[in-house]
């Protein structure tokens, strides 16, 4: 009887570890909300990409995008570009919030944002601008 309990306890322990490993291996990102934000951002990227190239828009240290050099944008396009940036930041905020929520931890939102901030910059193309830790613009 007691041996049986011991085996059961060991099995339970193993199961707990397996669950722990599984929980840390992947974050849930396959939700309709995340997929639609992703699609919207992917579509917008076609318009943002030349702005990153010209240095008009840069990647901020807090996981957003920002107007870095208004002079790189023709006067007539400044309003649409401002709108583009606002829409992108809105999607990004929603994305970070949704990932935290999809994993049952809304309080992770800022951690998710910080992780993305690093990865956007890491994956940015050479020539694009990003903010370093002190907030200064750096050309990659």
């Amino acid at each position: 009887m007691s041996r049986r309990i011991g085996v059961l306890a060991a099995a339970g322990l193993l199961a707990a570890w397996a669950l722990l490993a599984l929980a840390q291996a992947n974050l849930e990102i396959n939700t309709p909300a995340i997929a639609s934000l992703q699609a919207s951002m992917q579509q917008r990227h076609a318009q943002l990409s030349p702005l990153y190239d010209s240095g008009a828009v840069g990647l901020t240290r807090d996981g957003n995008v920002a107007l870095r050099d208004a002079n790189a944008v023709p006067l007539a396009q400044r309003q649409p570009v401002t709108g583009l940036i606002a829409a992108e930041n809105q999607d990004r905020a929603a994305l970070y919030r949704e990932i935290a929520r999809a994993n049952g931890h809304p309080e992770w939102e800022q951690d998710v944002r910080a992780t993305f901030a690093q990865r956007w910059i890491q994956k940015a193309r050479p020539g694009w601008y990003y903010q370093n830790a002190s907030g200064a613009w750096v050309r990659k």
Binding site: S2, R3, I5, G6, A9, A10, G12, L13, A16, W17, L19, L20, A23, Q24, A25, N26, L27, I29, I34, Q38, M41, Q42, H45, L95, I99, H105, W108, D111, V112, T115, F116, Q118, R119, W120, Q122, K123, A124, R125, P126, G127, N132, V138, R139, K140
Partner: protein
């Protein structure tokens, strides 16, 4: 014998509970990085695992292993 079982059971229980607490408190940074990379690859239409290629790399950028 019964003592040993009880001890094993208690240790197991404590570790299992600690495991659950770990899940609840700590942000899984490595998993989040992987998730971020998957989403960024999708949004920016990069090939999975692609790192930017160029003649020069910014000195401020952290050195990174080239994945082929």
């Amino acid at each position: 014998m019964a003592h040993h079982t009880l001890a094993a059971l208690s240790v197991g229980a404590v570790m299992a509970i600690a495991g659950c607490v770990t899940i609840n408190i700590y942000f899984p940074a490595a998993a989040a990085e992987k998730a971020a990379d998957r989403i960024i690859d999708e949004v920016w239409q990069l090939k999975p695992g692609e790192t930017p290629k160029a003649g020069q790399r910014a000195p401020a950028a952290a050195p990174q292993k080239e994945k082929q």
